[in-house]
Amino acid sequence: MATNGNQLETEEQFQEIITRYPTEQRYIMPIMHDLRNRYHYLPRKALEMAAAHLQVPLSQVYSMATFYKAFSLIPRGRVRLKTCDGTTCHIKGSQTIIEEVYKNLGIRPGETTPDREFSLETVNCIGACAIAPALIVNDKVYGKVTAASLKTIIREYGGRENE
């Protein structure tokens, strides 16, 4: 059985989330938000069950799931790294951070480590230009990130270095 953090991905769990909402098309988004909040991605089985529950074609649910960048169809890690790649962070070296993450963890933006511990994505400006380049780890913001401080941050979250 697949796990994500401490959350079991079982059909019972999916059902519990999905049936909080009545059978109406407009609840596709709230359900997908709830799934995302719990699992950090949208499990395929859950989308199929949601479509069946709401009596909406799966193609439409899938269409919406792929439209929004906030939703991912592939599992995210327990530790989710988001590097800001807005203009300021970009100039201040966000590409270096992305490169350093790859060196340390072997993942590129949009990827997850095979053990589902870490995942990386880039986001547009998070409004923290004063402390660029910025990195968000599971909703906690780190500023003025360097190659050295990135190593510390990764270690802080239980990551082993690749070197």
Partner: protein
């Protein structure tokens, strides 16, 4: 209610779209995503027209713009022609493999440009296929992803359990972007293989078994009892009418 379109006065019902009223009056407005079976979708923007109402002139999408008061419409102005030319240019570059778009590109006199050509693509994202599939009551395909990556696909790009292989999507596609392979008694569409049923009269494979089963489950069984292709069904109806006429005493 009256509406003036290209100088002609025509009668409109309130709430009717400009496109519908124009077509009824025999005035054609170019469009790529419009089909009279579905009404306006407002995707392609080719049907932009100039509307003058209450002293204000603006450009609107005629296939979704309902006429609710007396308006004056121009279906072609230099500004509109430029919009159409730009749309055709962009769509041709998006779908350079489409003969249909190539013809439009030349007939609109689009100028050469350095835009990236999306080689091998034929789809112009008009979404008529999605609408056709929806009307069939199946909805196996939809627009997936966003922006320049947007495309029409089945969920997870796999053979959809919902697809009945009817081919309505490929049939309505203006650019032939949907691949249908027919070989012997098999049809392959959207990564799914279907067995075909033969016409009871001429023996030609004419529909997928899945499609017939679907129709039988939704319609009165008698309607689809006879498995005939469209040609043979027409002949059958003609024969019936003829026999009926012959049975009438005064003909």
């Amino acid at each position: 209610m009256k509406m003036r379109i290209d100088g002609r006065e025509i009668e409109v019902r309130s709430g009717e779209t400009i496109m519908e009223a124009a077509r009824r009056a025999g005035i054609s407005i170019p469009a790529l995503c419009y089909h009279e079976a579905f009404g306006g979708q407002g995707h392609c923007r080719m049907c932009m027209v100039e509307v003058q109402a209450g002293g204000v002139t603006r450009l609107v999408v005629s296939c979704t713009y309902p006429v609710t008061r007396e308006v004056e419409v121009k279906t072609s102005t230099p500004a509109i022609e430029k919009i159409r030319r730009d749309i055709v240019t962009l769509l041709y570059k998006r779908a350079p493999d489409s003969d249909f778009m190539e013809r439009l590109y030349h007939s609109y006199g689009c100028s050469d440009n350095t835009l990236h050509a999306n080689l091998g693509e034929r789809c112009i994202m008009c979404r008529l296929c999605v609408r056709a599939c929806e009307e069939m009551g199946v909805s196996a395909i939809a627009a997936v992803s966003r922006g320049t990556d947007k495309r029409i696909a089945t969920p997870y790009d796999e053979a959809s359990p919902d697809c009945i292989g009817c081919g309505a999507c490929a049939d309505i596609c203006p650019t032939g972007a949907i691949e249908v392979i027919e070989k012997g008694s098999r049809r392959v569409i959207w990564n799914k293989v279907f067995e075909m049923a033969d016409c009871q009269r001429c023996g030609r494979p004419f529909a997928t078994l899945a499609q017939l089963e679907y129709l039988e489950s939704r319609l009165d069984r008698d309607v689809v009892k006879q498995r005939l292709c469209s040609n043979c069904r027409r002949k059958e109806v003609v024969g019936k009418v003829r026999r009926y006429n012959a049975s009438l005493p005064f003909v």
